[in-house]
């Protein structure tokens, strides 16, 4: 029994963290808002290129298909780092979902480009047809991976109608249900893609939450009212302690779900649901707390907090919100019939 990353995995995570800390500061997150005044997508794309050079983009692609063949355990930490940086690009969708998915569908040419860092892929597998990062993507995957007999389609931009998100970096696009070409996937591959997306989303939420909490802890240490740092007030301390508690108990659940996925364990779906439910709730709690302990300064677009908070508000609901995930857990516990799930 050993509940920890091995040293290679930890080193890879560190490397990605260092890269993003240096290359993806808040200014770059702002540059990733298509159509905004600060928009500079070329600058954002340079971060992508560097991730590609590290091999991160093809990390989940099987070695036979030109990737690193890394499992979920090795990768959830990277996704957490992407969340921490609020990376305004679909690293999760591209590297963690699309890579293995396109490989399973036999799309060798695309997989090769993806692993080489040449392909940004936006994906929405929930049947909504609302695809995040469509506005910066080179390819889109949309459809319903949850429905019995569901299918996924591959589309090339500009096959979408832009939508405005509260989080500009999400660069949403709506795609038509019958647009694009159906990918050749069996039910197991569809299910696996969904689980990976839900788990990856959970990992990103953890990172977003950690960044928000760090920002809040720094702020309340600096900001003074009534002649003292506001972080000395217990009402402030206790909210932040509770926020940390939520994050600290969601994080191991994410790593465990990654392990279960890699093992193909029978409980993997349940474990992913537990992870996403905890991570969604934790991130929402941290975002609300971080905003509250800042006061009005955080209620502006000039201060950086909103860059992460808005991603949380979107991400907590994407890939199955906490309620939906708990319904899946209920099913696994025999508390409702499987058919009642959808």
């Amino acid at each position: 029994m050993r509940f920890a990353l091995n040293s290679d995995q930890a080193a890879l995570r560190e490397a990605v963290r260092d890269l993003l800390r240096a290359e993806c500061p808040p200014a770059v997150v702002r540059a990733g808002w298509p159509g905004s005044e600060e928009s500079d997508l070329a600058r954002v794309r340079r971060v992508w290129d560097q991730l590609g050079e590290m091999g991160v983009l093809g990390a989940a692609v099987p070695e036979a298909d030109g990737g690193l063949g890394l499992g979920a355990v090795a990768l959830v930490g990277l996704l957490e780092e992407a969340g921490r940086a609020a990376l305004p690009l679909p690293l999760m969708e591209t590297a963690f979902v699309a890579g293995p998915l396109l490989a399973a569908a036999g799309e060798a040419a695309l997989v090769e480009r993806l692993a080489a860092g040449e392909l940004v892929v936006g994906a929405a597998l929930d049947g909504s047809g609302i695809v995040p990062f469509a506005q910066v993507a080179d390819a889109l995957i949309a459809g319903d991976a949850r429905a019995p007999g569901g299918e996924l389609r591959l589309l090339r931009p500009p096959a979408f109608a832009p939508l405005e998100s509260i989080d500009g970096a999400r660069g949403l696009g709506r795609v038509a249900a019958d647009a694009g070409l159906v990918l050749d996937l069996d039910a197991a591959a569809l299910a696996a893609a969904w689980e990976r997306g839900a788990l990856g989303a959970a990992a990103q939420l953890l990172g977003l939450g950690r960044a928000l909490l760090a920002l809040a802890a720094d702020y309340v240490t600096e900001r003074r009212q009534f002649g003292v740092a506001i972080g000395t007030f217990q009402a402030v301390k206790h909210q932040l302690a509770d926020a940390l508690l939520a994050l600290e108990f969601a994080a191991p659940a994410v790593l465990r779900a990654a392990w279960s996925l890699d093992r193909g364990a029978g409980d993997a779906g349940r474990d992913v649901a537990v992870a996403k439910a905890l991570a969604s709730d934790a991130a929402l709690q941290v975002a609300a707390t971080a905003l509250q302990v800042h006061g009005a300064i955080a209620y502006t677009v000039e201060y950086d907090l909103h860059l992460h908070a808005k991603r949380v508000w979107a991400g907590a609901r994407a890939w199955g919100d906490a309620d939906w995930q708990r319904t899946r857990v209920a099913a696994a516990l025999g508390l409702l019939p499987e058919e009642a799930l959808r």
Binding site: M1, R2, F3, A4, L5, N6, Q9, V73, L213, A217, V220, T221, V228, A229, G231, T232, Q234, V236, K237, H238, L240, A241, D242, L244, L245, E248, F249, A250, P252, A253, L255, R256, A258, W259, V274, A277, L278, D323, R326, T327, V329, A330, L333, G334, L335, L336, P337
Partner: protein
């Protein structure tokens, strides 16, 4: 990452499970009543005879030299089998780790085997009428008795769990009369039959005589009653509180088994058709599962040699809140039967104490904020 147990660990689990299934007593009276305590002692002695009382201790003290992983496995199996809360817990889980860390060889050899055998039964003498959360306000004092080669203890301890049934108490006493706050305190181990010691039991919320006040009036203890050095009691006591908040007192096994029972109750009580009730059951189950995963991660860190430190306050916050929610949910499922005296209502009353004892949850939040998040104290 490897969330599997070795064949040896699985064999250990199988052995524990088989023994527990054959031996766990059911329907014992409360361990916080005189009648129940005697029954629990019998169980503790059966555990000891089969060397399951203190699995992680060295064999010479009655243990099995089990690894921390095996200890965790044993705890899981223990609660899975429906075995009762340990009336020896304040000795074996709180005092013993402190004796292993700070005790002399003589103290270890003298105290640990008797503790393992439930011959000496230990209670915890931290709280006083004027020193609850503010433990450093301890007033009970220790005066040097040069002629007798020991100390004279005077003062009052309170909320002493099972004090009326125990034989010994560990606690903090002010040994330096001029000292204040954390300085000048000494950690003593006191036989409760010493002349000058009076114990008065009284009822807890459930009506059982689980609390006691302990009055000390010039009670003599010899020098070897000091654990960890004169005037160094605070740092010794902090080691005990670390065990109390963290893993040792409340391993996940107890919550996992309670969560499984809650799911069964929910199935029996038609929660399938009630989306709100179902969601609360699932939340409780998820929290128990999250506590298990957190613990596996923490034990990995401990096994690799890192100390838990202030992070044990995270454990305490989580398990205490989880326990309350879990039992509240069960009572809601029981509806009109919730108030009946039974395992769930008893468990609920006990769970309500969790946010108070072992340092209140407000104190834990202060610790998390200041020592884990690094927020300013003043």
């Amino acid at each position: 990452m490897d969330l599997t147990y070795t064949p040896a660990e699985e064999a250990f689990r199988a052995e524990a499970r088989a023994w527990l299934e054959a031996n766990v007593p059911h329907d014992l009276a409360s361990g916080d009543s005189a009648e129940g305590f005697a029954q629990h002692l019998e169980w503790e002695r059966a555990l000891h005879a089969a060397r399951w009382a203190v699995v992680s201790w060295p064999e010479r003290y009655g243990g099995r030299d089990a690894s921390i992983w095996e200890w965790l496995i044993f705890e899981e199996e223990y609660y899975r089998a429906g075995a009762p809360m340990r009336v020896t817990q304040n000795g074996i889980f709180l005092l013993a780790p402190t004796i292993f860390e700070f005790g002399t060889q003589e103290q270890q050899d003298a105290l640990l085997p008797r503790m393992a055998a439930a011959e000496d039964l230990w209670c915890q003498g931290w709280s006083e009428p004027g020193a609850g959360s503010d433990l450093a306000a301890t007033k009970a004092r220790a005066v040097r008795d040069e002629a007798g080669g020991g100390w004279r203890l005077t003062g009052q301890k309170t909320w002493t769990t099972r004090g009326a049934f125990c034989t010994h108490m560990f606690g903090l006493f002010r040994s330096d009369p001029g000292s204040e706050r954390h300085r000048g305190l000494t950690y003593f181990m006191v036989p409760l039959d010493a002349p000058g010691v009076t114990v008065r039991g009284f009822g807890r919320l459930d009506g059982d005589e689980g609390f006691a006040e302990v009055f000390l009036d010039d009670a003599f203890v010899p020098d070897d009653a000091v654990l960890g050095g004169v005037d160094r009691g605070w740092s010794v006591a902090m080691a005990t509180t670390g065990s109390e908040r963290g893993l040792t007192l409340r391993s996940p096994g107890r919550f996992l088994s309670a969560a499984e029972r809650l799911v069964e109750l929910a199935r029996d009580r038609g929660a399938r058709e009630d989306a709100l009730a179902r969601d609360r059951v699932v939340r409780a189950w998820i929290d128990a599962d999250a506590y298990q995963q957190f613990t596996l991660q923490q034990v990995t860190e401990i096994a690799a040699g890192s100390a838990t430190g202030a992070r044990s306050s995270l454990n305490k916050l989580f398990w205490s809140q989880l326990d309350v929610r879990l039992h509240e949910t069960a009572l809601d499922l029981l509806g009109p039967e919730a108030e009946l005296d039974g395992p769930w209502s008893r468990g609920f009353l006990f769970a309500l104490a969790g946010p108070i004892y072992a340092g209140t949850n407000e104190i834990q939040r202060n610790i998390v904020a200041e020592r884990v998040l690094g927020l300013p104290r003043k």
